[in-house]
Amino acid sequence: MKKLLLFCFALLKIQYSSAQETYPVNGAWDIRPGQYAFTNATIVASADQTITNGTLLIKDRQIEAVGAAIAIPKGYVVIDLKGKFIYPGLVDAFTTYGMPEAPRQAFGLGGAGGGGFSRVNIPVSTKPGAYGWNEAIKPEMNAKAVFHANATTSVDYKKNGFGAVQSLIRDGIARGTSVAVTLGDERDNEVMLNDQVAAHYSFSKGTAATNYPTSLMGVIALLRQTYYDAAWYKNQKEEYNISLNEFNRIQTLPQIFEVTDPFSVLRAAKIGKEFGKVYLYKSDGEEYQRINEMKATGAGFIIPVNFPAPYDVTDPFDARQITYAQMKHWELAPTNPAVLEKAGIRFAITSDGLESSRDFWTNLRTAVDYGLTEKQAIKAVTQTPAEMLGIGDKLGTLAKGKLANFIITSSSVFKKDNVIYENWIEGRQYVVSKMDVADLRGKYNLTGDGLGNITLNVNGTPGSYTVAADRSGTDSVRTQGTFLRAGDQVNIYFDLKNNPAGNIRLSGYITSTTPLTLRGQGVLPDGTTTKWTAVYTSAATIAPTRPTPKPNTNVGPVIYPFMAFGNAQIPKAETTLFKNATVWTNEKEGILKNTDVLIENGKIKAVGKNLSAANAKVIDATGKQITAGIVDEHSHIAATGGINEGSQAVTSEVRIADVLNSEDIDLYRQLAGGVTTSHILHGSANPIGGQNQLIKHRWGVTPDQMKFEGSPGFIKFALGENVKQSNFPAAFGSANIRFPQTRMGVEQVYIDAFKRAKEYKAARAVKGNNVRRDLELDALVEILNDTRHITCHSYVQSEINMLMHVADSMGFKINTFTHILEGYKVADKMKAHNIAGSTFSDWWAYKMEVAEAIPYNGKLMHEVGVLTGFNSDDAEMARRLNQEAGKAVTYGQMNEEDALKLVTLNPAKMMHVDNRIGSIKPGKDADLVLWSANPLSIYAVAEKTYVDGIPYWDYAQDAAKQKAMKADEGRIIQKMIEAKNAGSAAQRPAFQRRRLYECETLEEDQFVVKQKGVQQNQDQH
């Protein structure tokens, strides 16, 4: 019987003075003045102003006065709030209150997702109406058109003290406009505060059935293109498009972007920067992990307080499934609001994301325990959200003229046992917990016929009483009974065991409060009726409750990256002198024995004998070998949200640069294999894929900071089985229909795309043109201008010849054929076209088009004079590319110096960055690896790996790091056990593998922006 939480709603729909003019009334008009005076309260008028012994006057919907010494005019209902508190009603800036459930669109059969590869092919929107081509862009959605107040769902908000919310349609990438409403149980017309509060965006495609986009980079490209389309739309007459029109119309509103982790904030901020927008972010509350970058966005945040529950770590084997990042986040999440406050970032707190709305105040208090000031906490749930939503003139603080939205509480809201009594919304009272009822706890003297002299000890809590009946003397007895209360009525049951035995049932009323007197009738076990009276004699003996200990708020440091092997401090470049090493220069000097290498300020300073440098850290490299850092020409690590936008045959508008993820353990693992630079490619699902990004393995930096500065742009093309979807399971009852499905079709895709690009280029060159900017064609024009280079996934000779032929006829160049396992068959032609070959050392037989792939391929291409490299396309193989290079010796006896270049200098040349990396030469970047043995050998261990002179990998230090991590995990696990023992609900650890991307990996789950997927280990490339 949760009486305490039961709402008592007014039975009558009361009409106050400002009733809807246009609505007819059934019966006599019932317009009331609605004048109340709340006196003697501690009024927290705003986070900055607390009035003791204050008075609040309201009239109908508005606050008339608030202050200390306010005279109460006649005609006011006076409510004495002595000892109680008044706060402004809370405002939740991010809800879907009153919105209809978004229907979940079926993504293909079986709901397995698949977007562009779904069984249902929906290239353009099927939504009726003159809307845009992509269903995920729906700026035309107006929350006001579908909002309907909901007395059921509003209850949870009201219980927590919320009086108004922003409500949005949480579906799609451009989500249209939201509303601000109060939570009153009135007509929709009356609760509406602002029918166009903000425009909303997200990285989630939602229920849109259109194939495109299937990846996060596709989402970003689509949004960027929409901004350009909208700008173009303003000045054109050919097209009528409601979506673009609405998109333009809502640009003046606050722009709110729903994101997840800090990197997604940065992704959105970059879009904002391009189009002159500063978004407000609704996030997952992980800002503490990158607080400086968050601050630098200059944006405001709407954050949740859904701090994770501790994990159940009782089984140590199961506990192994919890990642270090999860542990750290569990510990640090409650610090997030405090960290934001300290950083001076403006933020509101939402109840969104909570498992149970009951956790709201508990968690907010936890945030205060972790350093959030009470002032800021109040502000973040009242004034800030109100101002963010542009309704600060009506809500957020208690001031004359504002709406009468306030709550009445038993104490400070930050006290653990605080009770919210009433939540007034626009002058309407909503009772959360009855306020003016006497506390019935105490000892009573119960008398009545057939009862004898009994002492009732009423205990428990108001709302959930317990009772014990005591009778002293000869037939002494002590028995537990039941005590129920409803309003002024009480019911008491107990069994005295003997004299009489059986249940005695008493029913009565509170007849006096001084002293508390209960009186009524009762029924004895034998059925006789009796009259009874119970009179308060003394306070109840209340068992002292154990004081709950303050949580242990000592937390570990934030680490960079926020995961295993992260560092509290990002390591810095050191002036280092390697003495007496075997140095593979990759220059004309060849392999130098007993040679020193000096690095300084991130660059190679000198290579030679007997070098010395003051202040340099000296490393004895006797017996060891130094090479340039390994360069992987074909990698799919360190990207999130999918690396294939395969929903269309041409997706040159998507960019890996938009979805880099610097928190990928493979960056670190590959450093431990000597890799310092990786070319992160779009996948191979379509003939013209997306734009690639060259990165350096800088462990702990932000995604943008990984980018290889000044490296020229690249784009991925692909040929063969993947682009023609040969190995797609054909769905039952429907064929694969995305063009192309044959190598014949692939050629036509290229010819068509470049014909369009040429026409576009010409049209854009005309002065005063109004040609729509097309990001897809822009990239193709860059190719035609030779400012963007092609790396093309390719296998068999026919298609390789085809693309060279198309390139010749259309006037563009191919930079690199990647995979190129039949390169040995066309090496002479590649050489003639000056096209590089980046291949696998020994892969074959994983599909039909590699039936004649041979491990001598690299050797043959190299012999013929093709610039040749070995790549990985595989997070595992990437960390032993040195060995793969060694296989050029196994298969074909390549000279060892040349073999090493396959994974260092040659890929650097392919990427046009050999002026910076790829060899050991003074002036070049200090990207170096110190090996224990011949770097091509299976026995070689990468002992140290430097990027820009920074030792990101150090085998010896790694051991220490592991030890420290183990210890920290142990510490956090102890804390989790304590938290669990203290009563926190625990979540069970479950085995979830990270997703590894390869060429063919297709994003299956378009709702997932932050990948938490199961590994899909395809052995197909």
Partner: protein, 438 residues
């Protein structure tokens, strides 16, 4: 329409095979005694014989030692001075000969439909004409265990030698064991977002796994009871096939990676008195005591893989053999798949940089694998009386910089080391007029 597609596909396939023909015949049986001298002989049990000789006749080793060979007449003497000589590497748990192209269904014969197929046998699907086998053989892998995959009980495997006209010729030890994949409690992929209110409580991953284990126990109990019947009225092919597990003639190979799963699997086999081998064993290093106490060996799957957890030592897979070596657990090694098995020597060599000795690494893929497969009486080391299954490499066979197999014998037969890849190499080296260095 479908039909046309099919025949078209077949036609295409046939064409490719035609021009990709690697005409390599199996060798004739050993007809004369052979002596190899001057080699550094890696015996397979950790021993190394410098300047060693080895003699064999009728497929069996007749003498092995250091220095000058005992006086005997040999019609063939191979001088292997400065070269390395190894027992043939043994590749357990592979789909070699069962799969030709991973993505072409018609060429895939390693996975039968259904969850419980103890009666299916990989041996008869083993394709001795696979173009892949010679490419693997060229790197010193001379014996393999083609293994069925998939489902819960995948079927039975045999050991084959890699130079044969047909599967009967290839069979080295037939139907040695049954393959089981241990159920794992793995969280299902879920979409983000709140669960619908009032959604029914779902079976937890752990509960789901336990349910499968319970079903498996029931199945094995029934199979065991069946095995005790003299003449069952109604024959059950599956139970018939499982008899060998209970009378000790067949092993149970259990795919299990996690410490918990390995422990469960060991307890399971113990309950039925089954001889068991753990396959995979990524977390075997956490339960070495359980493995040792129960005498259960582990066949590690690849050293060249990624650690399972972000938190794991980045080199953990490389270090795993050493961890088991130090703990005294019997361990072997396989690569994965089929064509990749030509990297088995490197998979073994990988552990050397991380603590294993070179000879321990050799032993891992020779004697240890032979022991685990129950063929160590006749192969796995170079000892008098054992098969003359061995190869000569110009350099260290575990290292890509030096591996270069120039001669190989399987049971005394001097096998052809040519393969499709070498043929294509030579063909195109010829086109460009460059030397094809092998």
């Amino acid at each position: 329409m479908k039909k046309i597609f099919l025949s078209l596909g077949e036609l295409l396939f046939a064409t490719i095979l035609a021009f990709g023909q690697a005409n390599i015949s199996p060798a004739k049986p050993q007809s004369k005694p052979v002596l190899i001298t001057g080699a550094t002989i890696h015996v397979g049990n950790g021993q190394v014989i410098e300047n060693g000789y080895i003699a064999f006749d009728k497929g069996k080793i007749t003498a092995i030692g250091s220095g000058t060979a005992p006086n005997a007449s040999f019609s063939e003497v191979i001088l292997a001075n400065g070269k390395q000589l190894y027992p043939g590497f043994i590749c357990p748990i592979t789909t070699l000969g069962l799969v030709e192209f991973e993505s072409v269904r018609a060429t895939i014969d390693d996975e039968e439909t259904g969850d419980v197929n103890p009666n299916v046998r990989s041996l008869i699907a083993y394709n001795t004409d696979s173009k892949v086998i010679p490419t693997v053989r060229s790197n010193g892998i001379l014996l393999a265990q083609p293994t069925p995959e998939g489902g819960l009980v995948s079927g039975q495997s045999s050991v084959v030698q890699l130079d044969a006209w047909n599967w009967q010729d290839a069979a080295y030890k037939t139907d040695i064991g049954m393959h089981l994949t241990w159920p794992i409690a793995r969280a299902a992929r879920t979409r983000r977002g709140p669960q619908a209110a009032g959604a029914a409580a779902q079976e937890t991953p752990a509960d789901r796994a336990q349910r499968v284990i319970d079903e498996l126990s029931k199945y094995f109990s029934e199979a065991k009871a069946y095995a005790e019947m003299a003449k069952p009225k109604v024959a059950n092919l599956r139970f018939e096939a499982m008899k060998g597990l209970f009378n000790g003639t067949k092993m149970l190979f259990v795919n299990a990676e996690g410490a918990k799963e390995i422990t469960q699997a060991i307890n399971f086999a113990k309950k039925y008195g089954i001889k068991e081998v753990i396959v995979g064993g990524n977390e075997s290093y956490l339960v070495t005591d359980v493995l040792k106490d129960n005498n259960v060996p582990v066949i590690l799957r690849e050293t060249q893989r990624l650690p399972d957890k972000d938190e794991d030592d980045v080199y953990l897979p490389y270090k795993l053999p050493k961890l088991l070596q130090d703990a005294g657990v019997l361990y072997g090694l396989t690569g994965i798949g089929f064509w990749r098995q030509r990297n088995l020597p490197f998979e073994a060599g990988e552990a050397v940089g991380y603590g294993l000795t070179k000879e321990q690494a050799v032993q891992m893929i020779t004697l240890n694998n032979a022991k685990i497969l129950g063929i160590d009486k006749t192969t796995g080391t170079l000892e008098v009386g054992k098969d003359a299954t061995l190869f000569i490499s110009k350099g260290d066979a575990l290292d890509m910089v030096t591996l270069n197999v120039d001669t190989a014998f399987i049971q005394g037969r001097n096998i052809n080391l040519d393969n499709l890849h070498k043929q294509l190499y030579k063909k195109f080296a010829g086109k460009y007029g460059v030397e094809a260095k092998l």
